[in-house]
């Protein structure tokens, strides 16, 4: 069972929900929490555990070998991303623009552009009791999050069976990294806050999930501030509201220290229970 936690707007509480829900569920079930916000991975600040595995992740980029180059210019012509520029007899590769499509390398008539690995990020896998945690951190200066997200998914699919509850902390927004992070999910939890920004970005996220034909529900964080427009929107659109996490400065203070919240706030724990019930019912229905 794969559940992605996403939101249009950043800072609505995705990581708070992901880490608290994962720890709460792991009291009784085997759970894997996967941080797919590879640009700014934060779940690891709240989860500790024993290291299981660390892997360096690479992307493939072409490397020019001058002695084999004729230079015919085909590589520059085939690259749709301007990652290869020919200046008289010199070929320059711009790795940050490369999408690793291999076209230049494989179409080069003299094999002068072999693909070599370039470090893209570092994956870490930790375990504590029933909770496993996987994160992948993008190297600063690497622009493309998608390949690292997809490698993280491959890792999780390789090492964890489908029977487990898998929670994915997705990046904010609605563009390619979010699609990559949610496309395998059986269910998506959209976290929002009851404010105009929250509502505006929730609508974008809802449209995205509809386009991906995903089942989804909403969790309202900081419930009590702002207004009722998010509630009204969800009612009108028949979107299930799985939980309402109350607005409370003390929750923000606890979060600021990198601590989990639900053990100290029974009201939050009750809300997590609601989400648990919802998830377990989905899981039962899926296995029937």
């Amino acid at each position: 069972m794969k559940i992605a936690i996403a939101s249009g707007k950043g800072g609505t509480g995705k990581t708070t929900l992901a880490t608290n829900l994962a720890s709460y569920l792991a009291e009784k079930n085997k759970v894997v929490l996967v941080d797919l916000d590879v640009e700014e991975p934060n779940s690891g600040l709240f989860i500790t555990g024993k290291p299981v595995r660390t892997e360096t992740k690479y992307k493939m980029i072409p490397q020019w070998e001058q002695d084999k180059c004729t230079p015919c210019g085909l590589c520059q012509e085939v690259c749709n991303f301007n990652a290869i520029i020919q200046l008289s007899n010199q070929i320059m590769v711009f790795p940050e623009l490369c999408h690793s499509c291999f076209a230049c390398s494989e179409l080069c008539p003299t094999s002068a552009l072999p693909m070599i690995p370039q470090k893209m990020g570092v994956l870490k896998h930790l375990r504590q009791g029933k909770l496993s945690f996987v994160e992948n951190r993008l190297e600063i200066g690497q622009e493309h999050a998608v390949p690292l997200i997809s490698q993280t998914n491959e890792y999780v699919n390789k090492y964890f069976s489908d029977g487990l509850i898998k929670l994915y902390d997705a990046p904010p927004g609605t563009s390619c990294p979010v699609i990559e992070a949610t496309k395998e999910a059986d269910f998506v939890i959209l976290v929002t806050e009851p404010t105009p920004f929250g509502l505006h970005d929730l609508k974008l996220a809802v449209d995205t999930m509809k386009a991906l034909k995903k089942q989804f529900g909403v969790v309202i964080n900081r419930y009590g501030i702002g207004n009722d427009d998010v509630l009204d929107f969800c009612r009108k659109e028949n979107i299930p509201i799985l939980a309402k996490i109350p607005n409370d400065r003390r929750i923000a203070e606890l979060y600021s220290c990198g601590e989990l919240i639900y053990q100290k706030f029974p009201r939050v724990k009750e809300q997590l229970k609601n989400i648990e019930d919802y998830i377990l019912e989905l899981k039962n229905r899926a296995t029937q």
């Binding site: 934060n42 600040l45 749709n80 999050a145 904010p172 563009s175 970005d201 995205t208």
Partner: protein
């Protein structure tokens, strides 16, 4: 003309509310660009008139002409993105997987594949209620190339600033450290980092500042919600000193942010508590830092 970019690494630190306040204070003298094209929210505070709009085309994706396709499968073999599965016995492009590299089109023996331009969003030139010219955009769902749309929005804003003799372009950047952020930083003169005293806030600030350093751009920082965790606030201030980042201001944890947003106002208009004073002084300080920079050049 100078470009001031506001970024935060982490989302939800108050970046857009603060940027909109600066836009309001700058008024007619500045051009505003909302480069958080993924989740553009600044229009909810500045109420631009959506004066002019244009479609944004960027990137291409493969399309297979089934009449010409012989089903040889070479396209699927070379595709590194698993974008050409066989569906109902036909090789079919999955648009969300296609990166637009064009490798398949190039090697198809029967020329059955063409690369088609994608409409990935819309951009607008508006006038806001504060009298700013504002350039903003809406990115299509799941669209690629948000970095290119950011560059587009920024370039149009720069054009307008140059044509109308404005001194500043104020840019609201996106969260993260990936391509849209890189696009908003390139060519910038000054970066305003908005952070909060939470372990995530500091963690993300450090990552995004490492990126800023690669561009050699001078930076200042505003610590929002600073009294939420005074100890961490002190740690942030220490980090700023070590990195020679100007500490522009600290704002208190204040639900006024939400109250103002709920009625569609910037914090400086709403004018409750002393937030307006702090933000006005912050904006003056940012301008001063940029004016000084100009003299030394």
């Amino acid at each position: 003309m100078k470009e001031i970019v506001v970024i935060s690494g982490k989302g939800g630190t108050g970046k857009t509310c603060i940027t909109a306040s600066f836009a309001y204070l700058g008024g007619k003298d500045i051009v505003v660009a909302d480069c958080d094209v993924d989740a553009a929210d600044m229009h909810l505070l500045l109420h631009p008139d959506f004066g002019k709009s244009e479609d944004f085309y960027s990137g291409v994706i493969a399309k297979i002409d089934q009449d010409k396709c012989t089903g040889c499968g070479e396209c699927a073999d070379v595709c590194r993105f698993n974008a050409i599965p066989v569906i109902d016995g036909q090789y079919t492009v999955k648009p969300l997987n296609c990166e637009g590299c064009g490798y398949c089109a190039r090697i198809c023996p029967t020329d059955a594949i063409t690369m088609e331009e994608q409409n990935v969003g819309e951009w607008y030139i508006s006038t806001t209620k504060a009298g700013n010219s504002m350039v903003h955009a809406r990115l299509g769902i799941g669209a690629e190339n948000s970095g290119k749309l950011v560059t587009k929005v920024k370039n149009i804003a720069k054009d307008i600033a140059e044509r109308t003799n404005k001194n500043y372009v104020l840019i609201d950047g996106s969260p993260g450290i990936g391509c849209p952020v890189v696009a908003s930083l390139s060519g910038a003169n000054f970066v305003v980092l908005i952070t909060e005293p939470t372990v995530s806030g500091l963690h993300d600030l450090k990552r995004v500042y490492q990126l800023v350093k690669k561009f050699n751009i001078k930076a200042g920082c505003i610590i929002n919600k600073s009294d939420l965790n005074p100890q961490l606030s002190d740690q942030i201030v220490e980090y700023l000193i070590n990195e020679s980042i100007v500490h522009i201001a600290s704002l208190p944890y204040d639900e006024t942010f939400t109250e103002a947003m709920t009625i569609g106002q910037t914090i400086v208009e709403y004018d409750k508590n002393n937030l307006k004073t702090i933000l006005t002084e912050s904006w003056e300080k940012i301008i001063q830092l940029n004016e000084n920079g100009r003299k030394t050049k």
